[in-house]
């Protein structure tokens, strides 16, 4: 009972903090919309936009929640609030789940807004339903939150936390199939990409957009993205040390 209370209280506290920072929330919500619009303009609305548009809707939340989580967590460490929490009866997992829920909610709003704009104003097309795209995006956001939590354990400052994005996520964006089909990459890179969670996040979104029907491949992608998110939360809990040097 206390566990659920701790999780809910933490999620509400994080959302309340975000509300106090309307500029960050506005950027989180508006920037993906602007970027998708820019992408349409760059590709002049052609086939390339149709190919990458839907996967991007799902990948934005992953990147932004990764950044927000890594910085927020680093802040908890440097201001001593994490040390206070660790001296209290709250379980580490409840704290992490509170974070995942709060940022998951934010991601749902972000993905919904971006999808509405992309599908209704920018003529982006998806064979599968829009809600499937948004659901995938929320799952990706939870994965991003979990990964951000995990890397924040290795960052000693907010600067370092931010630098983990290009280090940790950009290679995954390059290798996931968005830039070039994975089968056209050197075999070694293709093998590496088999083990990266973003590969399956991208592939799932691509399948939703182009096939629109339930398939074994889609089920596998969803299962693997979920498994990666669960594993990262567990890793995050393991790297969150109650006792520090």
């Amino acid at each position: 009972m206390r566990a659920v209370k701790g999780t809910v209280a933490t999620a509400q506290r994080v959302l309340r903090q975000l509300r106090r920072d309307p500029r960050t929330v506005a950027m989180l919500l508006v920037v993906p919309v602007v970027l998708v619009s820019l992408m349409k303009a760059v590709f002049a609305g052609g086939g390339a936009f149709q190919r990458v548009g839907v996967p991007l809707l799902g990948i934005f939340p992953l990147i932004s929640m990764f950044l927000v989580t890594a910085v927020t967590m680093q802040r908890e460490r440097s201001t001593g609030t994490l040390e206070r929490l660790m001296s209290m009866p709250i379980a580490k997992l409840d704290l992490l789940l509170g974070y995942a829920i709060a940022f998951g909610v934010l991601a749902a709003v972000q993905a919904t807004l971006t999808s509405v704009v992309a599908f209704s104003l920018l003529d982006l097309h998806s064979d599968g339903p829009a809600w499937a795209v948004v659901t995938f995006a929320v799952g990706n956001a939870v994965l991003g939150t979990a990964l951000g939590l995990f890397v924040s354990a290795f960052a000693r400052s907010e600067f370092q936390a931010v630098q983990f994005m290009p280090l940790f996520l950009m290679p995954q964006v390059f290798l996931c199939g968005l830039m070039a089909p994975r089968s056209s990459m050197p075999r070694a890179l293709e093998i590496v990409s088999d083990y990266l969670p973003l590969t399956y996040a991208y592939d799932g979104l691509r399948l939703v957009a182009t096939e629109g029907a339930w398939s074994g491949a889609l089920a596998r992608d969803i299962a693997l993205v979920t498994a990666a998110a669960v594993a990262s939360v567990a890793l995050g809990a393991a790297t969150l040390q109650r006792r520090t040097g």
Partner: protein
């Protein structure tokens, strides 16, 4: 259960970043007392306190709080901890901070108002912490630790930077809490706060120089100020080390 000391530290060894901060410290804090932990900054007071609340990685020895291993899940809910730098959320109001921690600690929501008046912050409850003065922030941090009536309170320099009137009222609060049965361990590097404690632990370079009631320490060293007693103890301690 109520027999042993509130805090029992034995042969505690802590190494931080390759430096031995506590080489093998032993001490105990009696129940229901206000115990002052005094010593110059950098002597290991904060490290000892972190070990007592269970957030410090230790290299050896044992720390027991209320008869249980420090930091174990059963004892965490009975220990209140206030870090040296106020550890509260700056972007939330005072009340929002307290509401959050009250929920984590299973404290009834009425406690929020009670602790606010305990630390004299009733008037700024709805103000964002970032708009408060340093002394006010320190008191928000203190109020948070009082929410669930902890049996043991570990306070790291809680009165630093406060004006004398406030300092006196906080010390009155500490004694009120201890007469209600709580055990308080309060660190300070200001020796003149020593007179307000029931018991003193004098620390230097990670070691315990002396322990006892303030007037007892004065008598033992033949001094009239704790600061002079401290200096006398450092000298005899040094001389002792030289001969051994």
């Amino acid at each position: 259960m109520n027999e042993g000391p509130a805090i029992d530290v034995r042969e505690l060894r802590v190494v931080r970043g390759g430096n031995v901060v506590l080489p093998g410290l032993s001490l105990s804090v009696p129940r229901g007392s206000v115990t002052g932990l005094l010593g110059p900054s950098g002597c290991g007071k904060s490290t000892l306190m972190r070990a007592i609340v269970g957030v410090q990685r230790v290299a050896g020895g044992s720390v027991e709080v209320l008869g249980q291993a420090a930091g174990s899940s059963s004892v965490r809910g009975q220990v209140g901890y206030v870090t040296q730098a106020p550890s509260v959320y700056e972007d939330l109001t005072v009340r929002e901070n307290l509401d959050y921690f009250a929920r984590l600690l299973d404290a009834p929501s009425e406690r929020v108002d009670e602790v606010l008046s305990d630390v004299g912050l009733d008037e700024v409850g709805n103000r964002e912490v970032s708009r408060l003065s340093g002394g006010q922030r320190a008191r928000v941090s203190l109020a948070t630790a009082l929410l669930n009536h902890p049996q043991v309170l570990v306070l790291d320099e809680p009165t630093v930077g406060l004006d004398p009137v406030l300092r006196r009222s906080l010390w009155e609060l500490f004694h009120r809490l201890s007469s209600d049965g709580a055990t308080l361990l309060v660190s300070s590097h200001v020796m003149d706060e020593a007179a307000r404690c029931d018991q003193l632990l004098l620390m230097r370079d990670g070691e315990l120089l002396a322990t006892g009631a303030p007037d007892e320490l004065l008598k033992r060293t033949g001094t009239s100020e704790i600061e002079d007693a401290f200096l006398a103890l450092v000298e005899t301690h040094g001389a002792h080390e030289g001969t051994s």
